[in-house]
């Protein structure tokens, strides 16, 4: 009986010691788990922060892209506006030119015409003064021709000779016939053998007999 009691006591004592050891092991595990958990939480926080940073960066990039896009759009709009304005100006100029081209000399009205004629001095002149005089005369004739072209028009004839599918001869003939009076020389320039004469004429409806 004594031995039995002793054995029980020993077993209980050993069970007590064993329980202590188990409890010790469990604490370590818990500590380890807590540390991992904390590390994981820290990592998660870090990842969260990184994600936040990435999100911020993405937002910033997005904003920059949006700004750039807006700038580009603004630039495109500006370019489009400039192109539109230019096209409008060209259209207006064209319309004015068309209006001028279609301008008709009405009764009791006058029209001002200005032209520039060019003439060249011959090679065998005796003096620069002679060269100037001859070139000026040629330039005046050219200016008269230009006035006649503007007022009365040009007759144009063309002829092409084609043989064996090839152009053998191409001819264009233009001619003007008119009478011009009261044309004035406005300005004369003579440079490097070329004389330019600006001439003007004011024509009125009464100059053309009906």
């Amino acid at each position: 009986m004594k031995y039995f009691i002793l054995l029980i006591a020993l077993l209980s004592a050993s069970s007590l010691f064993g329980a202590d050891q188990v409890q010790t092991v469990d604490t370590k595990v818990i500590q380890l788990t807590n540390a991992e958990l904390q590390r994981a939480i820290a990592e998660a926080n870090l990842a969260k922060k990184e994600a936040t940073f990435a999100q911020i960066e993405a937002m910033q990039a997005k904003a920059a892209l949006a700004r750039e896009k807006a700038d580009r759009e603004d630039e495109a709009v500006k370019i489009a506006e400039a192109a539109e304005a230019q096209a409008q100006a060209e259209a207006e100029a064209q319309a004015e030119a068309d209006a001028e081209a279609q301008d008709v000399l009405k009764e009791n009205s006058t029209m001002y015409i200005s032209v520039v004629g060019q003439g060249v001095a011959p090679m065998n002149t005796t003096s620069p003064a002679q060269a100037y005089a001859l070139a000026k005369r040629a330039a005046i004739a050219d200016a008269y021709r230009a006035i006649a072209e503007k007022v009365k028009g040009v007759r144009i004839d063309g002829q092409d000779l084609i043989k064996n599918m090839m152009v053998k001869r191409s001819t264009i003939r233009t001619s003007v016939k008119a009478m011009v009076r009261n044309a004035n020389v406005v300005e004369t320039t003579f440079k490097e053998g070329l004389c330019e004469v600006e001439m003007e004429i004011v024509i009125s409806h009464s100059d053309f007999p009906q």
Partner: protein
């Protein structure tokens, strides 16, 4: 002694004055023509013809040109002395323009002819000046 036809002398004088005046007037009318040609932008030739009118011209004097006269009634000399001025005056009166241009196988040639058709001018020579005016 005075003749019975006492006014014959006066009639003769008057008729001679009228004849002289009419001859003098005819002598003051000139026919002038002018032409110049420009070929390929170079003056090719220029001609001015002046001659006395053999018959009386009709018309009234138009826009006149006044030149200083130092030539004793010689119109050709007067015009040659004032050629530039006279040329400008003729241009103002009006010139006929004949222009032809040909482009053959992309090579261009052109001819421009400016002409003042033969026109009768009345020329009055005074002591210091000469008046030139076309009759139209």
């Amino acid at each position: 002694m005075r003749s019975r036809d006492g006014n014959s002398n006066l009639t003769f004088r008057l008729s001679s004055i009228i004849l002289f005046c009419s001859l003098a007037l005819n002598a003051g009318e000139y026919l002038i023509s002018y032409r110049y040609m420009v070929k390929d932008a170079i003056l090719y030739n220029e001609t001015l013809h002046i001659s006395h009118a053999m018959t009386k011209c009709e018309g009234k004097p138009q826009s006149e040109l006044i030149l200083e006269n130092t030539t004793d009634g010689d119109l050709k000399k007067l015009i040659s002395q004032n050629s530039e001025e006279f040329s400008n005056y003729i241009h103002k009166l009006g010139l006929h323009i004949k222009y032809k241009e040909q482009t053959l196988n992309l090579q261009n040639t052109s001819t421009t002819i400016l002409t003042l058709k033969t026109t009768c001018f009345k020329v009055d020579f005074n002591d210091n000046f000469a008046r030139i005016a076309p009759l139209k």
